[in-house]
Symmetry: none
Subunit: 408 residues, 2 copies
């Protein structure tokens, strides 16, 4: 079932029980051969196995059957926001991904440096995938030599990686439904930005963006490769309902990578700063902040990265590192612990996938089911069966005694 | 989850991976005694068992919990069209069921011959269930002696079975929301057809149908039993979204019986003609057309017919015949194969039923779950759990790599 916030907002009640959502990015895997084990099944995980033995297992569907999620929508779903219902522009996700402190009024775009020929037709949509250092230099140049100050707007041009950057325009009255400049094929000229919303903000924003693009292209004209650019996914922060308001919980995010901090911020969580990037560093930050919040989202990135590299063994070892550090977390006595992934990233496929994600719920009031280990196939027989990822927080709210009875 | 086509239409992408949906009509069964085996569990099916061992199993719900489907809605659901959302008139299904080549403009009705007394009140709503030969004779008589040609319309009166026939009116400007003539009880007079849509087409169509009914009743007046008739389910082809457009797949249907060809045609599949009526004939047609399509629906009828006869053993043997012919299909190397039924038809019940239908998914990227054989009880522990039949095509799209990633 897709979660409807209105139902939970009416029932949410405060108490002292703490909920931890531990996300190993891309956790779900596949066997390399039909009779083999998955990454999670291969890993030595005595702590996770004990939790599975004492709690309830199941498998979650991040978006809809058969659909492979990007990281942004997959995390929205974990936070109980159906990504089909709550759309977020790529520009917003890109800005969040580099840790830009986006305000609700900002218009954000994903930018790609590109190469155009003498006739202005695109010959390379990625400008030969220039190195990131080049991207940094070009963004600094654009930041210095372009401006919408005359129109009353601030602009931020920020490097992402290789040919990718982010543009943020800050000021009042931005919005609309803006088209992209990228024709998506080479041999064509870039397109102007137009507004499809028919609103005053939309027309005004399209106009502003086109002005900036003209300036930027003239600044880049003499560059050998990145002599042009395209903008995609122009949008504002959609203004999602706030997680702490829906669930009546002070919520904190503990993550290493900007993207995940950003999505947590979008739904109103506080981002915890800490040193280090290993699971045990994240659990130390958790211990430090334990008394200040009711809900903690902890994000482990490398399980996904190794999956995307096709590195089965490294993914196994990262899962084992999380398991080894887990006693730190358990020593805090959470009332409810969820261990899951945002999606599957089987090393076999070297990419995100649509496969349901093994998930365990542990806590004093969680039903101990018949599952004895944590793994894809073990979870098939678990108490939670197959469920939509937006159900995760609601179940945890129930297990934590944080939902009032429905009706007399 | 009920499938929402809009989500998938945006993500569907083309590749060379082929999907086969193999439907054994009424596949699901029950044990005759509480400790017995079902038809599928009793059948010797080494090929299906191997596929179940290598793939994922589950059980599908065709309509909603507890609801027994007719063949038309059950197949719509397999094709990912929720039958609650996409209504198809009985007249359209009746016309498709007898293989009539319905056009989008045609108005179709299901007809029942009936007996009225001297006062014009219905004394038998089924005209004593006259034999089918009688039905054929009466339809020929009506075809010859009734006409809407003066109004510019063609009419087709076609026998179905016993007291049942189909009426099709062909011409421009038909439609509306038309009521039925059958009062559903004896002792009352038939009702006139009225339009509830308030449209010009509706009023015009009701008028036309009433004219034809008056002619037809006067032609039948001297018949000993079938001296009147009723019309039900007057409707046009609802103009469903086309399967090939939603999923970006060239789609073919391989079926022996007209009803299944008809439903496939309703959603825009091409119907393949071939000689013979056994499973291996259907797989030969599949091999012949393999390069011309991306998606194949193959329909096996007799599993259902034997279930309806209460012939447990014959149903077992038909399942075994499909299993024996399966290597022909597997030799074509489908990327994804689904084996399922449109609904259950337990020989014990001698009818369609609401019981979830054992279903297996097989393919390179399908998770090998813990299930080792194909059967109702084995599927209970499978990776697919219990799911709505409209999810089947979406899962297959994912397994075939035919869906783009959702979000960045």
């Amino acid at each position: 079932m897709i979660t409807d916030h209105r139902v939970y907002k009416n029932l949410a009640q405060k108490n002292n029980n703490k909920i931890v959502l531990l996300v190993m990015d891309g956790l779900g895997g596949m066997p390399l051969h039909v009779n083999g084990l998955t990454e999670l099944e291969s890993a030595y995980t005595p702590n996770l196995d004990r939790l599975a033995g004492e709690g309830s297992s199941g498998r979650s569907i991040p978006i809809r059957p058969g659909i492979t999620p990007g990281s942004g929508p997959a995390h929205l779903s974990l936070f109980s926001y159906d990504p089909i219902q709550f759309e977020i522009g790529r520009g917003v996700l890109e800005a969040l991904g580099i840790g830009f402190d986006l305000s609700h009024e900002d218009l954000a775009a994903r930018g790609n440096f590109a190469t155009v020929d003498a006739n202005g037709l695109i010959s390379d949509r990625r400008a030969g995938r220039i190195p990131t250092e080049e991207c940094i230099r070009l963004c600094e140049k654009l930041q210095a030599e372009t401006s919408l100050a005359a129109e009353g707007y601030e602009t931020f041009v920020l490097p992402v990686k290789e040919h990718r950057f982010a543009l943020i325009i800050r000021g009042a009255g931005l919005g609309g439904q803006l088209t992209e400049t990228d024709p998506l094929v080479t041999g064509k000229a870039p397109l102007p930005v137009t507004d499809e919303s028919g609103t005053t903000e939309g027309a005004h924003s399209a106009d502003l963006v086109n002005k900036w693009v003209a300036q930027a292209r003239s600044v880049l004209a003499d560059e050998p490769k990145a002599n042009s650019l395209n903008l995609r996914g122009l949008a504002r922060d959609p203004g999602l309902p706030r997680f702490p308001d829906i669930y009546q919980m002070r919520a904190a995010a503990i993550a290493v990578y900007p993207m995940y901090k950003g999505v947590a911020k979008l739904v109103g969580m506080n981002v915890i700063e800490f040193d280090g990037d290993r699971p045990h560093h994240e659990f130390e930050a958790l211990a430090r902040e334990w008394d200040n919040y009711d809900f903690f989202f902890i994000h482990i990135k490398k399980t996904d990265s190794y999956g995307e590299d096709g590195n089965f063994d490294a993914k196994v070892h990262e899962i084992e590192a999380v398991d080894a550090a887990l006693p730190q977390l358990l020593a805090l006595n959470p009332s409810v612990l969820i261990v899951t992934g945002d999606h599957s990233t089987p090393a076999k496929l070297r990419s995100h996938s649509y496969h349901p994600v093994p998930t365990l719920f542990w806590g004093e009031d969680v039903m101990p089911d018949s599952v004895a280990t944590f793994g894809e196939r073990a979870a098939e027989g678990g108490a939670m069966s197959v469920f939509h990822a937006t159900e995760m927080i609601p179940w945890a709210m129930g297990y934590a005694g944080r939902l009032a009875r429905f009706g007399a």
